[in-house]
């Protein structure tokens, strides 16, 4: 009910975009906002953009994913409506590491029961892992307390990006 009061009148949602460095978070954010993606550098702090989707105003927070910056993620947890976790599907070496980071996030009180969307990014690359491998590798199958969804996408090509946002909006509406 609280959520309704807060988000229904203006239909504003706070989305938190996290994931390891080089996953493609900033590329995804810019693609969502239909901005140029040719000069993106690793994020040191954060980027925020507002985009419209399905009648919602989505305020998307993109935080840098380098290992040194990860401890600062927690500063952005408050009032998150949907957690969006971005992974580089071709970076199989770090699939388990990114799974471990995600697991820590899911244990945070402030993110309790927050729906989770996983963007399996860089699907354009030849050795990108399919959804089932990603679910296993990330340990998603241990999640039972909130809805989760994998969305295969390519941020550079813009494929699958909109579908993920559609899931976000549809899973919030029913709250």
């Amino acid at each position: 009910i609280l959520r309704k009061l807060k988000s229904q009148p203006d239909k504003e949602l706070r989305l938190l975009l996290l994931g390891l460095d080089n996953a493609g978070k900033t590329t995804l954010l810019k693609k969502l906002a239909s901005e140029d993606i040719t000069h993106i550098t690793p994020t040191q702090g954060f980027n925020i953009k507002s985009v419209q989707s399905e009648g919602f105003k989505l305020n998307v927070w993109d935080i840098g994913g380098q290992r040194k910056i990860r401890p600062y993620w927690r500063n952005y947890f408050e009032n998150t409506d949907v957690l969006i976790y971005v992974i580089d599907s071709a970076d199989r070496k770090r699939l388990e590491e990114t799974g471990h980071e995600l697991e820590e996030l899911l244990m945070e009180d402030k993110l309790a029961n927050v729906p989770l969307l996983v963007y399996a990014n860089k699907q354009d690359l030849l050795h990108a892992a399919p959804a089932s491998d990603i679910a296993e590798g990330l340990g998603l199958h241990t999640i039972k307390d909130r809805p989760w969804q994998i969305q295969a996408c390519s941020a550079t090509a813009g494929e699958g990006v909109k579908d993920g946002m559609e899931w976000v909006c549809k899973n919030i509406k029913k709250k």
Binding site: E96, E97, S132, A135, E136, G139, H141, P147, I150
Partner: protein, 239 residues
């Protein structure tokens, strides 16, 4: 069964609270069968927002003093691999078939037979929904039972089963937006689970305990592999 205290005149609230049964139902079947639609139909939620599930979603309701959670899993071939990770929790199974899609009945049969042969599901009650009866050419109960070889499969694995023909997109304002066949099937499934609750639930609890240990072990091993991978890259674990 298991409800003796209320007979001895304990206050109703206290007794119903202490006997609140937690029930988990597993909702599975091929992609596009209508699982998510059926789940939403059951709780009277709008069907406009249904999207293909590539993951996990949950629906909660209460029924006869039971707190019921339905695990709605993605049915596509690429995500089916996660199903078995959710078996331990389940007291019962809802399997949905698109009865109008004859081309995928063989696939549905394979998946169904495979599902019930799993040791964590054997003997658990099954509600089989032959969905999309509103579509032209939808097969009826008898054909579905025949083509999915339901009799042999459920007998082999000792799963009490009921088959209902339904249309999950049916919206009846006077009936809480509920397709009566889905409600009937659900009621049957819940009645069975309530009757057999102590057996079913002790099995669920022990299976879940085993699984928790297994997951802890997997996590430990994963952490060890991450540590090694980082060492190889010349990073330290703590910084």
């Amino acid at each position: 069964m298991g409800n003796c205290c209320s007979r001895f005149g304990l206050p109703k609230i206290a007794s119903s609270k202490s006997h609140l049964k937690n029930v988990v139902l597993l909702l599975v079947g091929l992609d596009n069968a209508g699982k998510t639609t059926a789940a939403k139909n059951l709780i009277g939620e709008s069907l406009e927002t249904v999207m293909s599930t590539v993951g996990f979603s949950r629906v909660s309701l209460t029924h006869q003093g039971c707190s019921v959670v339905i695990y709605d899993l993605g049915g596509g071939p690429k995500i089916r691999g996660i199903w078995h990770r959710y078996f331990a929790d389940a007291h019962g199974i809802i399997f949905v078939v698109d009865a109008s899609d004859v081309s995928r009945l063989e696939e549905s049969h394979q998946v169904f037979a495979n599902l019930l042969s799993h040791e964590k599901l054997e003997g658990k009650p099954v509600l089989l929904l032959a969905n999309k009866q509103d579509c032209e050419g939808a097969l009826d109960e008898v054909d579905i039972v025949d083509l999915l070889n339901v009799e042999a499969v459920v007998n082999q694995h000792r799963c009490p089963t009921i088959v209902e023909m339904c249309s999950a997109t049916t919206v009846r304002k006077s009936h809480n937006k509920l397709d009566p066949a889905i409600r009937n099937g659900f009621r049957w499934l819940m009645n069975y689970i309530i009757r057999e609750y102590s057996d079913l639930n002790s099995r669920v609890e022990s299976d879940m305990a085993v699984q928790r240990k297994q997951i802890e072990q997997e996590k430990k091993e994963r952490l060890e592999r991450i540590r090694k991978a980082r060492e190889e890259r010349g990073e330290s674990m703590a910084d």
